[in-house]
Amino acid sequence: MTVTATPTTDSQPGYKWVGTRPVRHDGLDKVTGRARYGADLNLPGMLIGAVLRSPHAHARILSIDTSAAQAMEGVKAVVTGADFPMLESGGEGSGEEYYDPRDLCRNVMARDKVLYEGHALAAVAATSRREALAALAAIEVDYDVLPHVLDVSEAMAPDAPILHDDLITEGVDPIPDEPSNVASRYVIDRGDIEKGFAEADVIVEREFVTQPVHQGYIEPHAVVADVGEDGKATVFCSSQGHFMVRSHTAELLGWEPSRVKVIPAEIGGGFGGKTTVYVEPVAARLSQKAGRPVKIVMTRDEVFRATGPTSGSKIRLKVGATRDGRLTAVEGSMAYQAGAFKGSPVSLGCMCAFAPYAIENVLLEGLDVVVNMPKVAAYRAPGAPMASFASETLLDEVAEQLGIDPLELRLRNAAEEGVRSVYGPVYKRIGFKETVEAVRDHPQYSTELGPNQGRGVASGFWFNFGGSSSATVHINEDGSASVLTGSPDIGGSRASMALMAAEELGIDVYDITPIVSDTESVGYTEVTGGSRVTHATGMAVIDACRKVVTDLRARAAKVWDVDVEEVEWVDGRAQHVSGDRAPMTTRDLAAGAAGTGGPITASAAVNARGAGVAFSTQVCDVEVDPETGAVTILRYMTAQDAGRAIHPSYVEGQMQGGVAQGIGWALNEEYIFDTGGTMENPGFLDYRMPVASDLPMIDTVIVEVPNPGHPYGVRGVGEVGIVPPMAAVANAIHDATGLRMSELPMSPVKVLEAIGANGG
């Protein structure tokens, strides 16, 4: 069952450090327990904060009486929605950065209505957790309970309970007069859909249903906020972007961002779920009122009930293909749960579903539907996995009907350089075909299968993001370098930054100290999300290093009294072109820095635009127990285009982690609600994420088709790995049993039901 991970790229032609596997710089702290995560800070005089959450999925708040809580011993501050400014719409951005201040402020603290079970509506700070919880119990809330809705179809029905009286559907013509739960309609309309289906020899169509799933990071949200007598706030917390925490916290408190300093804790997982704020502004307001530091750590139950899962969905898709396996048309509609506020990733789902393929005729509709569950947050390749579950299952069906190998079908339709993507742009150099070929050529694809076993393949696409990042590089007196960035290290990015800096500066990677700096010590940097850090923050590091090298050459020129053009930077040393001067190392130049212009330092900032898109193709072997419906993953292999693997171990880690999450999504993970809209499984016992004994080794093949938009060819690697697994597993189950599973999760109950319905 053990499949050995394939070592790759350990010696990159032309590179000394890129592609090697040094021990990560923050590793020692993390294997000794020294690393400080969000909950690991206690301050003198610190209070413990706790949040009152709605027991109802949908209710009008008639009154909140906090007087008894205020009067309790040990209680130092109480806040409700009235303690925060009401913000109005006006958010910018899309994808993982999207937010609307109107919604964000109401999500952090409910105003006139609670919109989901777990919605925050008051908070207290007290001298102990015991007192804080007692105070919460003493807050009296009078609710007018309203009918709630969770299912997207029911939410779109004419008589559905309306969540927001002012929500008018965007993207439809004419503009509706009445509010509804459909926040927006997104459409991709290309080519001639009727002509496309007319050309088809085979047409498959199917409906799919998926449930909300949570990011499942092991570290609950945690914050310590300390507002000083000068009114300035220091916030220590784990997040995917401390500049995001600063701007959101300040905005929600009605402050200028400069009034808030955010110190990034180590982050214990995020996967998109920590790209927004929940308790940070609350802790800051409580601290301001109490005049003391306030710590809030969510319980696991709160994490499930109040922070972003990703959408459940209903998807209908139709695909046409010619006899020789050319895809002629795709058509369909996707409705995604947004949670209590607009902003599901449905448009991204529409864009990603068929992005690996060259298809002329496309008509896809995406509906963003608000329902009474927590507002969804980004989750690894937001929107793409559920859409690809549908599209890649249908492609398997097409291949089956045509009698074509499913990888061959993908190769025949594979998008490549110059092809216009389903979602619009023309692809530059991409590595999709290479990922399919890597799976085809891997031993697993030809391993013999036993009884009740099956094999499935699927592919996936993710855009990858670029965006704003900053970096500062200091050369220390001993010639070593400190590299400061504003990107929280969620999975080894310090090591990647150090590798790129070592490559540029020509010094040993262990002579680089990569640092994640606070909001006052480095320039603005967007969240760690969208698979953007190694690409965009990496470019800032490379740029800053190149400035440093230019400076080092100038200083050598000054010492040697030659023109700077005569000085080259080779292997971490300044050399004179003539070769008749003893080269000077960074250590030599740093030691003499006072005489050549003072300390050696440089900063750089980028707004990276050239994030190369990513593709993954995967193969899954399963065994299905026909008597219990249990699905065992026997073997799994994933091939992904990384462009250029900076630290291959952490590239493999991203690939394997994405697959594991996808397998959880495929087989067992789901939000289960009772008839009152209360989540029934808000804990790791019944929200069933994969455990070690559920999985085999996950074999990886890193494909490297360099991204022309990055100096080393880097593409983001964090997200696309989660896109194919659900369809890969479903297709494997089909191969084993003949059953087409169209609902997630494919739990034993559902599989056994399907076997029974099939007369098995």
Binding site: N681, L685, D686, V691, V749, E753
Partner: protein, 316 residues
């Protein structure tokens, strides 16, 4: 499992969500006591109104986290030697009510003689939970899904109970009266569990179904024990099912069908049907009625086959 009671706790929660004022008061003053003798424990329980005995606390603490009011006194039974013992006494195995499950698997002779019981105890949660969870806790927690109970029942386990009136012994099968409730009187607690050592050509087995491979509560559990004669025919058969009814249910028809016969496919098919028929399951977040019924039959058969293989081996 850290929270075998969680299956029933949702029901308890509503009863506990508005605790009487006295309970609210005591939740701020839970005391911890660890008596070192049975007599001391009896007197502690006799004096304290709101006392709760516990062994591993793998269910108790999660229940407190979920909002169950704290008792006035938590009585830790693990400092009483007899409650954490594991010994062979004459023709019996005696297992302390608070003996951690991990200990059972370390006792080679016990593993050889009662493999199904050891496996059932070994399925209660992760290695971490195994260090704490006990047969006594698993039983008195009274979850319908408790893994060790069907295995104890098919082995005719007896429960030794201490209380203000002295010691008494009752069948394990009569300890649990419903989800979250037991026949133990106020002030009573479980001391140990006693099992006869099996006669020749006898073996037990326990299997459960969970969606993952670890860390889940049983969706269905099946314990089986049988004695074979020289020809491989069943002489005695016992099958008990967990998680398919408010308490463990026996499958008496298995005895009628199998005694005097070998485990033929046809006979086992009939046993499976009977096992499904005795179930009285619920639909919940872990499974459906239909699923539980069907898989109960599957697991009963698989457990019988496993027990028969073992019994055949012990006879040779």
């Amino acid at each position: 499992m850290p929270a075998t009671l969680r299956a029933v706790l949702r029901g308890l929660e509503s009863a506990l969500s508005s605790p009487p004022e006295e309970e609210l008061r005591v939740r701020f003053a839970m005391r911890y006591v660890a008596p070192t003798s049975i007599e001391e424990a009896v007197s502690v329980l006799d004096g304290a109104v709101a006392a709760q005995v516990y062994a591993g606390a793998t269910d108790f603490i999660p229940q407190l986290r979920m909002g169950r009011p704290e008792p006035g006194v938590a009585v830790d039974l693990k400092r009483i030697d007899r409650l954490t013992d594991l010994r062979r006494e004459g023709n019996t195995w005696v297992i302390g009510a608070a003996t951690p499950s991990a200990r059972l698997a370390e006792e080679d002779d016990l593993v050889a003689e009662l493999p199904g019981l050891v496996e059932a105890a070994g399925l209660i949660g992760s290695d971490q939970i195994q260090s704490r969870a006990s047969l006594g806790g698993n039983l008195c927690n009274a979850s319908p899904a408790a893994d060790s109970v069907p295995a104890m029942v098919v082995n005719d386990g007896r429960a030794v109970i201490a209380g203000p009136g002295g010691m008494r012994t009752i069948p394990v099968a009569s300890v649990v009266t419903g989800p979250g409730t037991t026949s133990l009187a106020s002030g009573e607690f479980l001391v140990e569990l006693v099992f006869d050592r099996p006669p020749p050509q006898t073996a037990d087995a326990y299997l459960r179904f969970i969606p993952r491979t670890e860390m889940d509560i049983a969706v269905v559990g099946a314990g089986a024990r049988l004695t074979l004669d020289e020809a491989g025919r069943c002489q005695e058969v016992s099958v008990a099912l967990g998680a398919v009814a408010p308490t463990v249910v026996m499958v008496p028809a298995a005895e009628d069908i199998l005694v005097g016969h070998t485990l033929t496919d046809d006979a086992l098919k009939r046993v499976a049907a009977e096992a499904s028929a005795v179930c009285n399951p619920i639909d919940d977040k872990r499974g459906t009625k239909a699923y539980r019924r069907q898989v109960a039959g599957v697991l009963a058969v698989r457990a019988l086959k496993l027990a028969a293989d073992r019994a055949a081996r012990t006879g040779s």
